[in-house]
Homo-oligomer: 258 residues x 2
Amino acid sequence: MKVAYELVNARREKLAQMLQDQAYIPISNVCAQLNISEATARRDLAYLEANQRIVRTYGGALVEYNQKFPSFLERQQVELKGKKKLGKVARDLIIPKSTCFFDAGTTIYALAIELKQKPVEGVKIVTNSLPIAELMTGVQGIEVHLLAGQYLHRQGVIFGEATIKTLRFYDIDDAFMSAEGFDQKGLWNSDATVVEFQRQVIRQSSRKVFCLGAEKMGKRAPVFLSDWGNVNVLISDAISSDLPVYSQAQFKGKIFSI
Amino acid sequence: MKVAYELVNARREKLAQMLQDQAYIPISNVCAQLNISEATARRDLAYLEANQRIVRTYGGALVEYNQKFPSFLERQQVELKGKKKLGKVARDLIIPKSTCFFDAGTTIYALAIELKQKPVEGVKIVTNSLPIAELMTGVQGIEVHLLAGQYLHRQGVIFGEATIKTLRFYDIDDAFMSAEGFDQKGLWNSDATVVEFQRQVIRQSSRKVFCLGAEKMGKRAPVFLSDWGNVNVLISDAISSDLPVYSQAQFKGKIFSI
DNA sequence: CTATATATGACTGAAGTCAATCATAAAATT
DNA sequence: AATTTTATGATTGACTTCAGTCATATATAG
């Protein structure tokens, strides 16, 4: 029988934690500890592998990725399913041989996961997110470029004056970004430095694609990022008619409501 | 048939190394890589487990060492005692609150390990090496800055046009570098792009510190990097009198021979 | 409230892993 | 040189893991 998403996610999270602690657990043991069938245990492992959290081996799984970016993974867990949907839609917008900027954050990370599973030929990805860089590197036909700046360990992000300066070296076709909140007035984020950086991205990109989960609708964050005039594409899983952009004459972009 | 002890030990040592590098190897793969039967492979694994070198799991084995030091570069370093010596000397040259450039490569990585164990207050490290960045990040009192550019996964290095350009953003006090060979004429490296980058580092740094293992003495690599005039400090474990710098009038630096 | 989507457990055959046994050939010992 | 030791490969049967299929119950969406 079907089970609530929350329970499933919680269980998988627990499994990931177990693997972190114990490094190796026989499948039979997983079943016993989580009170699930072998089939479900395997499905959970497959899921964690698909999300790059673990590497499966015959008879077990290795956890390599996780210790690197602790707080990043914590955040990744919220609204995971919605983000995956947004990511799939965004992925299909990527044009072969284009240069794309990938914003730091879990929403765009979900896009990166989708892109890795179904790569687009000759794409050059510019990012200041190390998790995204590590995820995408080595993928056939994809080039990863990191921006310069101070390396902030906990978030796995590169930031600072140099980050904005280095952005100018690149000619961005599509920028895939997110924000912490959005309403009638526009987009909001929590940190002034982040906003300053994002504004530079907006200035330099031909097309601005924003991926905004429904949970962010109607919310404001401390710093105003931009009005809707700068948004070329809006991807959201909020109910279409509720989106605040319809009342905005300035908005001339395209909407993907899913 | 029986086989000489040396051969057996050498093979088991190799297997241990393989496990350290690859973390997990199917038994079939072990057989193929070492040209031995499955039975022998199992016996070797059992031996290594008995000696507390590895922990066997169903279908593979885990190396304890792995969990402590996730970066495989770091593992490579363990045996190279010469580099550790150089690193210790170099570390003591680092001045509090200075900005240091750390070259990519194992020699300077060894220096980074020493610095991590005994940090210098308020130092800012600029590097294009991701292993070094990951190693040093989070260390109390130390700031890590990454240069921009294409992320080359295999070497864990950031490189390209942008790397040289971003270097200009920084005001480097001390540059800690290495090379693949050195002789009377000066320093040599194998890759033209690397050399171009290193020359920019030399131009921009107040003090140039070169760490050169004895094994590199007298050797040349395809591309000429610099004569001895640019070297402010030379650290080497080669016999002092053999060093090629004494015959060079242009060399006005300091020598640490250990 | 109805219809759809999906998370689950049971079952399957195929494939991988394991420990144990045995004969053999080469090293090590005497 | 003769004897002992032992490292090896082949073989066996038991066990574990794995991916796939299917029916079912329930959460979720409309």
